[in-house]
């Protein structure tokens, strides 16, 4: 028996050049490119996932990264059921912005789950974050997973965790 199809909006949010688009491309199309191509505005991708017999259509909003030119537009977050906050583990400056973004998310989407992805974990020799950074993010109420859009590490798991946190799944997947 085919269950109902539920559409859920998930926003990809974070500073510029942290790999938001790469993560979406890895998750949706299973491809990766090393070339950095900045996103302007929003691009919405759809990905069906099966959850407990139901089909969930994830509407993934890949939102332009935040930098000195661009602020996060609160209207893009409207109606989101979950947020993936992407940070770059090789750039402490990107993590520096997590608190600011977390404040915006808390104001615009109270109660909506936020999962933090520390991306680029394949670059282990350039990795600059420690356990204390992760503790700091967790203190902001953000669960954190290390991901790599390049190798695909934990990408599926991150979205699965997001789905679970949105109350759709059967439980929180085991940590890698």
């Amino acid at each position: 028996m085919v269950g109902k199809v539920i559409a859920k909006k998930v926003c990809m949010v974070g500073p510029f050049a942290v790999g938001k688009t790469s993560l979406v491309r890895r998750f949706v199309d299973s491809i990766f490119s090393d070339t950095y191509l900045t996103t302007i505005g929003v691009k919405i991708s759809k990905k069906p996932v099966a959850v407990n017999g139901d089909q969930v259509q994830l509407m993934i909003w890949d939102i332009e990264g935040v930098d000195v030119f661009t602020e996060l537009k609160p209207s893009y977050l409207r109606g989101a059921s979950g947020v993936l906050l992407i940070l770059d583990g090789t750039r402490p400056k990107s993590v520096e912005m997590a608190a600011e973004l977390s404040n915006v998310l808390g104001e615009q989407l109270p109660g909506v789950p936020v999962v933090g992805l520390l991306n680029k974990c394949d670059l282990m020799y350039e990795w600059k974050l420690g356990e204390s950074d992760i503790e700091g993010l967790e203190a902001l109420g953000i669960s954190v997973i290390k991901t790599s859009a390049k190798t695909g590490r934990n990408v599926e798991l991150a979205f699965e965790l997001m789905v679970n946190k949105m109350g759709l799944g059967s439980g929180v997947p085991e940590s890698p």
Partner: protein
């Protein structure tokens, strides 16, 4: 196609008029839009002019979201236009279209315009791409620059300490790209390099005429009111501020200032390293943006804090609530930073930042002012005692052990607190009061909190005055030794005591070590004071031995004393002068002695043990203790810190740690001394676990020599009793 439709088409716009649940396409022949709709399986009427709202939203989820803003604009009177921002749609063939929606009213009729930017997008994208590539590079350069500046600062300080030469520094930094200045504490310049001349566009004669240090202090003061106090206190400082060059142009500089101290602790020079960061800053300032968060800790930074507290002040306080400000400064952070490296230092700052954040309420505001300084703005204070509770929680949380490079380190902090209950207040004054209170807490021995008291305003030179008094006290021999017995449980008959210094202050009476050891450590006076204690203790011991009273005396030796190049010589001289047998002397050292150059310290201690002197590891469990690490250290006794002993009746953790330490020490043939034993229950616990010695108020407080002499027989008796009551 009408001319109007043709023009709209040429502009790449699809114009839709809202009519109830439908949208009517004004330029019904719009090729690109109809193709896109078809590609997205959006049903349209045969003539292509009508599309229902639901289908449009289904085809364009982005528009579904935007229609909420559009409805609001259409509902408002006046000609308000809202824009959606650019989004990208991919058609069936995989081609991407960059679109933007606009909602406006024309003669009261709601209109939705969808603009196609695809043809011009690559140019627009190219500009953003370049800007972000540059920003990424900029970010990387700033990170590297900061790292290198700190390394250069440490290298220069180390060089001056080792070589005692500024001339050598001048030679090595002559062509360095970072500006370097070495000056005396009064600002008189002793050395500058070309990079500094380049920043200030003044020749070295002009630069030496002005006091650049004073200029920096006054320029940075608005942002960093504590700068003067920090450097005068002999601490490291770093920050970024605008500085005026000789030509009158403002430059952004990133400055680090580190003191160089003489052996007696007096500041002989300041090493200042500066970089012109105007170019890096221009990107931020031109866009009017300020991240507002600290690079290392991700907490709001200094500028953010000032914006916040000013906004709170402007809003005024309402209701019966007060506002508390806590100024937190980590103790001995520079030492940790120097010993373990900047990366470990950054890790510590980060960890402390998250602990502070977790120790306060959600509506309180935590900021990292830079260096090792944090502030907490505590809102909604009903009673002052609330702040005490918060401060205790902060101190406790910061003090919890942290693992860095495989070592366990316990940090401590000094906290200054001030409170405001008026509806209006001056933020700068509040910060200054909290800073002064923090300074007072530091002076009183660190690891504690102090509330602001107006009397502190006059106490700024207190530390310097206390230092001068200490110098006089050494000359005038105002110190006395008290001796606290250590009672044997393991059957030792010998009387053992720990020598503890007290200061018989001419005005303030007998002062405990907490009131002056911190200042003595920082000023370097601990060296002569430590020698006095050692000589005095050996003298007392020799006198007692001559009266046939066998005694072993333990003397505390600070890390600074032990590292002093003359320590071994001083020790042997004193033993020889006093004729006190080395076998009757014990040196109590702490784990911090091993923080720097472990192998050299081990060698020194082995050499001291060869004289016959025994070594006790004091305060075990409070520093970077690790039971495995204990195996490497050449010690004879281990003193379990009083905090574990006091916890024996309260928590299982203290019991477990104490038992493990006793058991491991026994395996390693190290005798264990428990200090701070105050109750029978603690004593029973320790006796059952076969600790070797106990020390604490349950038996004796620290005694004057005459009181010790009176109790000498009783101590021997206690040793004997314990010997017979020893559990099997």
């Amino acid at each position: 196609m009408s001319i109007l439709e043709g023009i709209i088409e040429e502009l790449g716009v699809a114009a839709l008029v809202k009519d109830g649940a439908y949208f009517r396409l004004v330029n019904a022949q719009s090729g690109w839009f109809r193709d896109l709709l078809a590609s997205l399986s959006c049903p349209v009427q045969e003539d292509g002019s009508i599309v229902d709202s639901e289908s449009l939203c289904h085809a364009f989820p982005f528009i579904e979201n935007f229609l909420i803003d559009a409805e609001a604009a259409w509902g408002e009177s006046g000609a308000k236009t809202v824009r959606s921002g650019i989004w990208t749609e991919t058609d069936k063939s995989g081609c991407e279209h960059q679109l933007e929606a606009k909602a406006c009213s024309v003669n009261g009729v709601p209109v939705l315009l969808i603009e196609n930017h695809t043809t011009t997008f690559s140019e627009h994208h190219g500009v953003y791409q370049k800007a972000r590539d540059i920003a990424l590079l900029n970010e990387k350069l700033v990170s590297e620059l900061n790292q290198r500046q700190r390394e250069l600062q440490s290298e220069i300080e180390r060089y001056i300490l080792q070589e005692a030469s500024i001339k050598g520094v001048a030679e090595s930094v002559k062509g360095h790209t970072s500006a370097v200045m070495i000056c005396q504490p009064n600002g008189q310049i002793e050395m500058i390099n070309k990079a500094l001349i380049d920043i200030y566009q003044m020749d070295d004669v002009d630069l030496k005429r002005v006091s650049l240090l004073d200029q920096w202090v006054s320029e940075a003061e608005a942002q960093y009111p504590e700068l003067k106090r920090v450097i005068e206190n002999g601490s490291y400082w770093e920050g970024e501020f605008e500085s005026k060059s000789g030509s009158g142009v403002d430059r952004w500089v990133r400055l680090t200032i580190g003191p160089v101290k003489e052996q007696d602790g007096q500041i002989s020079h300041y090493v200042c390293v500066a970089n012109d960061i105007s170019e890096f800053r221009s990107l931020d300032t031109s866009s009017g943006s300020d991240g507002g968060y600290d690079f290392t800790t991700h907490l709001p930074n200094r500028r953010h804090f000032w914006r916040h507290i000013n906004a709170v002040a402007e809003g005024g306080l309402t209701g019966d609530f007060g506002l508390g400000l806590m100024y937190i400064d980590l103790d001995y952070f520079k030492r940790v930073n120097d010993d373990l490296g900047h990366q470990a230092g950054d890790f510590l700052l980060s960890a402390v930042a998250s602990r502070i954040s977790r120790s306060v309420k959600h509506h309180d505001f935590v900021a990292h002012l830079g260096g090792d300084e944090f502030v907490v703005l505590v809102r909604y204070i009903e009673e002052v005692s609330q702040l005490d509770i918060v401060a205790d929680r902060l101190l406790e949380s910061i003090h919890e052990p942290l693992f860095v490079n495989g070592q366990s380190i316990s940090m401590s902090a000094s906290i200054g607190i001030t409170i405001n209950v008026e509806s209006s207040f001056d933020p700068a004054l509040l910060v200054r009061q909290a800073d002064l209170a923090m300074y007072a807490a530091k002076e009183l021995g660190k690891g504690q909190s102090r509330f602001y008291d107006p009397a502190m305003e006059c106490n700024i030179p207190h530390k310097l005055q206390r230092e001068r008094e200490l110098i006089d006290a050494i000359d005038r021999q105002e110190f006395v030794l008290h001796l606290q017995p250590q009672i044997s449980i393991s059957g030792e008959e010998e009387v053992r005591v720990e020598a503890l210094i007290r200061w018989q202050h001419p005005d303030h009476g007998l002062l405990p070590p907490a009131d002056f050891i911190g200042i003595a450590e920082e000023s370097g006076l601990i060296i002569p004071m430590g020698s006095w204690v050692l000589r005095q203790a050996c003298g007392i011991g020799a006198d007692l031995l001559s009266e046939s009273k066998k005694i072993c005396i333990a003397v505390n030796i600070s890390a600074k004393q032990l590292r002093h190049p003359d320590f071994y010589k001083t020790l042997t001289n004193i033993l020889s002068e006093t004729s006190f047998p080395a076998s009757q002397l014990e040196l109590e050292i702490t784990e911090s002695c091993f923080l720097e150059d472990l192998n050299a310290v081990i060698l020194l201690i082995e050499k001291i043990r060869k004289l016959g002197v025994t070594i006790a590891l004091d305060d075990f469990g409070t520093g970077f203790s690790s039971l495995n690490y204990l195996r490497q250290l050449p010690v004879d006794y281990l003193k379990i810190d009083r905090s574990f002993i006091q916890g024996l009746e309260i928590d299982r953790e203290s019991q477990a740690i104490t038992s493990s330490v006793i058991s491991l020490a026994s395996e390693l043939n190290i005798d264990v001394i428990a200090e701070g034993v105050e109750t029978e229950a603690q004593f029973d616990f320790l006796r059952c676990r076969q600790v070797n010695f106990v020390q604490g108020f349950l038996f004796y407080r620290p005694l004057s020599l005459s009181a010790l002499l009176k109790s000498y027989g009783q101590i021997k008796l206690l040793n004997d009793e314990n010997k017979f009551n020893k559990p099997q």
